[in-house]
């Protein structure tokens, strides 16, 4: 199985390590040609405004949007969740997202770095809590009717899916626990 990791900016190398630990082959994705032959794609955390800009300048936005429409399995964490969301609040006016999952997210909704935190979250499909790290995290403010919420923290969804699109407002790549990457790869 070949999993692409969007490598325009952000924590892509940590995702590659986590995916490799699950037995997947990975490829860094920076230009349209890198999409060929991918079975799935991970969009990492990082700065969503930077990634949005680089998606346009690299010519990657439209071909990637088409692959996502064609049912490519995608997992977006933090900034990656912002890129996949239908609606983005507190973004830049020129910021683009793929409208791949029917949620509204607020950039830096949990605050600045001083408010970044770690906490155990209950993921019902796993048999014990998952330790989650939230960094200047986006906050989900609305979910559409077709969304399956996989985990909440303090009553707010932090892990969700719609079909083959998965999103997390935290960073499963920053902890040595591979269960969420495995969960995603099982769906692929």
């Amino acid at each position: 199985m070949l999993v692409g990791v969007l490598a325009l900016q952000g924590a892509f190398s940590a995702h590659q390590s986590a995916l490799a630990d699950c037995g997947a082959s990975t490829r860094q994705v920076r230009v349209a040609g890198d999409l060929d032959g991918l079975d799935a794609l991970v969009m990492p955390g990082g700065e969503s405004t930077t990634m949005s800009r680089l998606l346009s300048t690299s010519g990657l936005f439209d071909p990637l949007a088409e692959r996502i429409r064609d049912d490519l399995a995608v997992f977006g964490t933090c900034a990656g969740m912002i890129l996949l969301a239908r609606d983005v609040l507190d973004g830049r006016p020129d910021q683009r997202s793929f409208d791949a999952i029917d949620i509204t997210v607020r950039r830096n909704g949990y605050g600045r770095q001083v408010d970044s935190f770690e906490a155990d979250i209950d993921v019902p499909s796993l048999n014990s809590p998952f330790h989650a790290v939230f960094i200047r995290a986006p906050k989900v403010e609305r979910i559409g009717p077709d969304i399956t919420v996989l985990a909440c923290h303090d009553g707010v969804p932090v892990l969700a899916r719609q079909g083959r699109v998965f999103v997390a407002s935290f960073h499963p790549e920053l902890t040595p626990d591979p269960r969420l990457h495995s969960l995603f790869l099982q769906e692929v």
Partner: protein, 300 residues
């Protein structure tokens, strides 16, 4: 719709949370800015963070005098102007400046040799802070001493304010060359490495095992062109800081955008050629034999 929010335990300011932000900045460009207009230009160009300071290093070098932490009003104005992370610098060892920046809610503190050192023997105990720190290093021993004090990110120092990449290359090659040698060392040789580097043995053993520093390593000091940024990345830096190189050039906006693209596409010469066109003149820069104060020598 809104969610019914409850409140449970959450831990802020922990080492994983601090190191996590360093991880998020990888592959990006952190730009020095001296006011909110420059901060907006940086954000527009795709910077992953800005460094708020009173004067860029080239001006500090020109003006002389004591360089200190920035005015809180200026930092607040920059925080209000952009939505990307805001970093700011403190003098080496000046933990009260760091306390003030933490109270202001900056996202990252740079304990920087570009400012005039406040302590000639001690760096800040960075474990005491909930805000993450980055520190400069010229070699692996210096990098590991800073990590042992709690730094969550290392940047090669280079020679700030010169527009000359030669020192950054020297420091990157030194740090990465020694990492490579340590991965080839046997367990007995690691004791000698720790002594030679004047660094804690457990950190040396961790490098032997993982083949890399325990925190991200970025490049700073002397980056003036897209090619300079790509050179740092190809040598093994994981992101770049650009100080005087953007706002001391003829036309900052296209240069800032080009350096962002070059940092992402650092191994693609065709993209590098494309983004290097029509940028106007870079900052003039100075040779190492023309300067009388090497900032990189500050820090211990």
């Amino acid at each position: 719709m809104s969610f019914d929010e409850s409140s449970t335990t959450r831990a802020t300011g922990t080492y994983p949370v601090k190191r996590g932000l360093a991880e998020m900045l990888k592959g990006g460009v952190i730009m020095d800015v001296v006011n909110s207009e420059q901060a907006k230009i940086a954000e527009d160009a795709g910077a992953c963070a800005v460094m708020a300071l009173e004067r860029v290093p080239a001006d500090i070098r020109r003006d002389g005098g004591v360089a200190r932490m920035s005015d809180p009003d200026m930092i607040d104005a920059i925080k209000a102007a952009v939505s990307i992370p805001v970093m700011a610098k403190v003098r080496i060892g000046h933990f009260v400046e760091a306390q003030i920046l933490e109270a202001l809610g900056v996202d990252f503190i740079d304990e920087s040799e570009v400012l005039t050192p406040a302590d000639e023997a001690h760096h800040i105990d960075k474990y005491k802070f909930s805000v993450p720190f980055v520190c400069g290093a010229t070699n692996l021993g210096e990098a590991l001493r800073r990590i042992s004090e709690g730094a969550c990110m290392i940047r090669s120092k280079g020679e700030a304010g010169t527009g000359n990449i030669v020192e950054a290359v020297r420091h990157l090659r030194s740090i990465i060359g020694d990492i490579r040698k340590i991965t080839q060392a046997d367990s007995a040789e690691l004791f000698e490495w720790a002594k030679h580097l004047q660094a804690p043995l457990p950190l040396v053993q961790e490098i032997a095992e993982t083949g890399w520093l325990p925190v991200p390593m970025f490049c700073a000091g002397g980056i003036a062109t897209p090619a300079d940024a790509a050179l740092a990345m190809q040598l093994g830096a994981e992101a770049v800081f650009v100080g005087s190189g953007i706002f001391k050039s003829d036309d900052p906006t296209p240069r800032a955008k080009a350096i962002v693209e070059a940092t992402t596409h650092f191994s693609d010469p065709h993209i590098l050629a494309k983004v290097s066109r029509s940028l106007g003149a870079p900052m003039t820069g100075i040779g190492m034999d023309e300067i009388n104060q090497r900032y990189a020598e500050r820090g211990w």
